[in-house]
Symmetry: C2
Subunit: 336 residues, 2 copies
């Protein structure tokens, strides 16, 4: 329903999460959320000829697993809304080629999973699609050479750097009330830039966009921290999470730290030497499609606000001396 | 309304084109469609420090011009759905930063304008947004170094090569019946790959996806070539257009050549030395938001099917020896 001047979309016809799948790499499979992933891959290349194609294959498998669990052939899926961090989203594009599902390619950097869910739920709620798969992926080895340096250089990472998760997640949503978990509303994000220029300090660059979207969501819905069992950001990392709490408090938000979880800060343990935590489209995608949705299905969590945030930089914009604009989307998932 | 198993979305509540803006570069401003562009820029850099930022500035100006013509401040615009060809769609991302409009980043290569219109019309039709701007841009100088070779090399282009248009287009759509032109339905595309590997032969790579989407649109709607005054593809170029006609005929479609227009084949004259024609997100975006919409408003055209097609390759996927997967979206515009 339309509420003038607001950024929040309410899905008036029920949209259910029918099935989910999460796949993670070896390092992610050794972290605190290991048991929540459906598949942990041992070989970073998955038998492919390049990391980009390994990432694409991981995304393809996540979508296929979600479809299998819903007992749907891929031909019965109305649309695949997906993206990744690679230039021209080749991992998603090549996965869509293999799957044959009508495809909407999105680019929201690490916010892509939330963006896909926001748009996909809209199309399903409207009745224009019976169902859709929302998915995203990332791979440590593709992202490093895409945004920073070739891995072969062995460049030292500063403490504020985040580790791009090798992971993929997929949620199969459908119209109707067959699932325990519903996608109830979503808040659009604005591109915000507080002039952080360090591609190894993404949490600081993205925190202002996350703050803006959470505040916008609260204003539009009248909700607050007490409404949600978890507000799950992805991915600010440990440093960005601290900055976010400070920014929210400055905006007058009563922050409940115990309910604020960052997927990037949660996916790796402190002993895993990833510095500030995880990042990448696949991080929140796999944590949302694994840990969080399973905790919701078990009843441990009833209301979750997933806030995906993306840093809209490129290697070229960094080389041209530009700062890092960021965007964040919030999607509410609630038990029926 | 949902029709099971179909790829076509029908916008049951009216979606009107409220305003439009098209901007083109110097070369495009010397072509056959010169008089249809609202602005022709003389300086490829638009006073910016890089071509990428010039492209971003061009996109920003197109969006702002469309908003001005609708007499709306940018704060009154519900969402900007946009993308471009650059890695991590930086031209769109940086334009969204400057505009402050809630942003949905899309990547469909040269199909982006059609993808944006398809998704934007859905959100507006549903009443979740009062209005939205759908926009896309491309720049010859950014695309060459993004997909092929640095311009400084002076690489010779083969006859099948297309020239990426320096152009941007924006359509401001809104719910209700205030405009003469309505967005009535849209057909989703599948990623199709017939194993063309030559990044200088995009028309051949994309023609199969365009054929698949047009055939799907006809099947879903019961329409044919006779229904539309123009089926405007973008961008197959002259060679790809020939291939498309052959593919359509093989699928049993009665092709009316006079009603089939390719934006890339139309934007440059034969004397402009662009070989197979134009391409780039900005080509169909500027021709649709300029020439075509103006011909519709004047009553010269009543029904137009805009079919944007994108080649989902990257420099990396080309270097890794991969073929070029493609996707196409069709959007119907009809006079009220």
């Amino acid at each position: 329903m339309s509420r003038s001047g607001m950024r929040t979309i309410f899905y008036d016809s029920p949209v259910s999460v029918r099935a989910h799948a999460s796949i993670a790499g070896k390092k992610e499979g050794q972290g605190p959320l290991a048991s929540s992933f459906d598949v942990v891959i041992e070989d970073d290349l998955l038998g492919q000829k390049s990391w980009e194609f390994a990432e694409s294959e991981m995304l393809r498998r996540a979508v296929e697993l979600a479809a299998q669990r819903a007992e749907l052939p891929t031909e019965a899926i109305g649309a695949l809304l997906a993206g990744d961090l690679n230039a021209q989203i080749i991992s998603a594009g090549f996965a869509a080629r293999a799957l044959g599902i009508p495809f909407l390619g999105l680019y929201g950097a690490c916010s892509t999973m939330a963006e896909a869910l926001l748009v996909g739920a809209e199309m399903v709620s409207n009745g224009n699609l019976q169902n859709a798969v929302c998915a995203a992926s990332s791979h440590f080895c593709t992202a490093e050479r895409q945004f920073r340096f070739p891995l072969e250089l062995g460049t030292q990472r500063p403490p504020s750097a985040q580790w791009t998760a090798t992971a993929a997640g997929a949620l199969l949503i459908e119209g109707g009330d067959r699932g325990d978990v519903r996608v109830t509303c979503g808040t659009l994000g604005r591109v915000i830039d507080l002039k952080v220029k360090d591609a190894n300090h993404m949490g600081a660059a993205m925190a202002p966009a996350v703050c803006d979207t959470i505040v916008g969501h609260f204003e539009d819905t009248g909700r607050d921290f007490a409404y949600y069992d978890r507000i799950a950001t992805g991915d600010l990392g440990r440093i960005g999470r601290e900055i976010l709490m400070e920014l929210l408090q400055k905006r007058g938000v009563d922050v409940n730290e115990n309910r604020l979880m960052d997927c990037g800060a949660s996916i790796y343990g402190p002993e895993q030497d990833v510095h500030a935590g995880g990042s990448g489209c696949g991080c929140i995608a796999s944590v949302l499609s694994g840990y969080l949705i399973k905790r919701m299905e078990s009843g441990a969590l009833a209301k979750v606000l997933a806030v995906g945030s993306g840093a809209m930089l490129s290697l070229l914009s960094s080389q041209q001396g530009e700062s890092i604009p960021s965007v964040a989307y919030a999607v509410a998932l609630e038990r029926a």
